[in-house]
Amino acid sequence: MKLFYTILAAVLLFTACKKETIIETGTPAPTSGNLNITMKNMVGAEDLVMSDLRYTNAAGNLYSINLLKYYMSNVVLHKKRGGNVNVSIYKLIDASNLSTCTFSVGNFDADEYDSISFGLGIDQGRNHTGAQDGDLDVSKGMYWTWNTGYIFYKHEGQYKNAANQLKPLIFHLGTDAAYSTVKLPINLIINGNKTMELKFDVNSAHTSPVNIDFNTDNNHQSSSSADMPWISNMKSNLSDAFSFVRVF
């Protein structure tokens, strides 16, 4: 009788919180591995060097990057044989701080994955409150206090204008309209712990499909209706500024 109660108690305790789990019968218990993502922030083929007036974009503007931060969120890994794994994650990448550029996405089944999607920015569901922790803590400086919401992408630096003068460059991209989903082909086999390297090319964020010329677009803070065209250009540019490098 005592044993019965103990078992009953144990069952109650363990079933109480169970989410639905899918048990694939007939297949051997899959092994799994942890996946890290490492972001390589680059300008063209060069590793990013902070605060150096050395880059030229497609419009021919010479410019620098004194600050570069962006949010990656909601990672989805797509299995080659179909099906995906969704991970709710909100990760702030700060190009000047390498420790923020590698992060764990979680544990994945041993399998072959052929593409990854992630959000650039914060989805609507999480973008409208500041009472959040971790990388969404508003003291990270990526939050607008006068218009509740996160700055998805922040680039501050300088550029040389048409008259050869040094001018400030301020790009603060945000609002729900700016949220984009990036999808990349990858070549990932999980059969143990893995690190996947992805590249972000800052020049590409100003280039394709829309060329952004700093002489006309140099101070956008997503705060006026005049910023709308720039928001939509940046959104499409950013969604193909990322690429897969390698897995190790």
């Binding site: 005592k2 109660y5 109480a16 206090t145 006068w146 006026s224």
Partner: protein, 346 residues
């Protein structure tokens, strides 16, 4: 032996099984040794929506009240929220058109009263803050207000002799984080409820209004006269919580709601203010341009500009529809919304 193990199951294990999955709620609050805060909602008011991740507790409200009044949150420790939001003025800023921040700078807008905030859905004149929690860090960081770096504010709080223990009691954790600061102050703000003015007492049948006040109330609601209730809805709240352009300027100086939605159609629109305690919250409008209630009423009577986004209710109104006596009656009615109990509470 058998009955002992049964008792063990009944009293210890079963409750565990039930609590294991519980989200934050009243009993979870009690589990942490906190006392649920009993909000008293005035008759005729709808229920207040409390966010599920910030349940009201006596301890949380007390902590929020302490923080609201503590200059520790400002850059040079000279200014608190209460410096610009004073209870006797309905938690607005005395007679200042524009409040002065810690560096002597003035912002472009009139400090808002903090009354019945728990029923509003967005905050600031343009509704830029999406909830009460999110609003809190605005004034702390604003260079024209308390001008404090959030990281520095948290360092100061974490090094304080008493705050760490108070925060830990309410929110757990080992460090005071920004989200805790936001939640504590929001809890206190939700307790600032005013619903016992002479108007409320009249609605409850415990007092009578004067002839002039009664006429004013009717004019306030009459669509061909004041037509005020169109936006300042009757009942408990006196606001539709929508954004309206009341034609204060022919060319909007402050873009208002457009700053948030980035839509030109929202230019010059501002949140409909709740008119409670309006007698003491002057000067009036988002930029504090009017000193008296007469000026406000006359604005709707004759003053408004036929600007691009002027609210349709005003487009359709007839200018000069109120005579002087009627203006005075509406002002008399507005003053019945003064709640002396609220304004003089501790």
């Amino acid at each position: 032996m058998r009955s002992k193990s049964f008792k063990f199951l009944l009293y210890c294990v079963l409750p565990l099984a039930f609590f294991a999955c519980k989200k934050e709620n009243t009993s979870a609050v009690e589990d942490k040794g906190l006392t649920p805060y009993n909000l008293v909602i005035p008759n005729g008011f709808p229920a207040m929506m409390i966010p599920s991740d910030n349940p009201m507790t006596v301890e949380g409200v007390a902590l929020g009240k302490l923080l609201f009044h503590d200059p520790i949150l400002s850059g040079n420790n000279t200014q608190s929220c209460a410096s610009c939001h004073l209870r006797k003025f309905g938690f607005s800023d005395s007679s200042n058109q524009f409040s002065t921040g810690i560096q002597g700078l003035k912002g472009p807008r009139n400090a808002m009263p903090l009354i019945n905030l728990g029923w509003a859905t967005q905050f600031f004149w343009d509704g830029g803050a999406a909830n009460l929690e999110s609003q809190v860090v605005g004034p702390i960081q604003n260079p024209l207000e308390m001008h404090q770096d959030l990281v520095a504010a948290l360092v100061e709080l974490n090094a304080h002799p008493t705050y760490p223990a108070l925060f830990k009691k309410v929110f757990g954790g080992t460090q005071i984080g920004t989200s805790m600061l936001m939640r504590a102050i929001a809890q206190y703000e939700r307790t600032l409820i005013s619903g016992n003015s002479r108007y409320d007492q009249f609605k409850r049948g415990t007092t009578t209004l004067s002839q002039s006040e009664m006429r004013g109330m009717n004019l306030f609601q009459n669509p061909n006269k004041g037509d005020c209730a169109h936006c300042h809805t009757m009942g408990g709240l006196f606001s539709d919580f929508d954004y309206r352009n009341t034609g204060l300027d022919s060319i909007a100086v402050d873009k208002g709601r457009e700053l948030i939605t980035l839509k030109p159609l929202d230019r010059g629109k501002f949140k409909t203010p709740i008119l409670r305690n309006i007698e003491v919250t002057g000067p009036y409008m988002h930029d504090g341009r009017f000193k008296t209630l007469e000026e406000c009423v006359q604005h709707y009577n004759v003053g408004y500009h036929y600007t691009q986004n002027l609210d349709p209710n005003l487009v359709n109104s007839v200018k000069g529809r109120l005579n002087n006596a009627e203006v005075q009656d509406i002002v008399a009615f507005l003053k019945t919304l003064t709640d002396t109990e609220f304004l003089s509470a501790e």
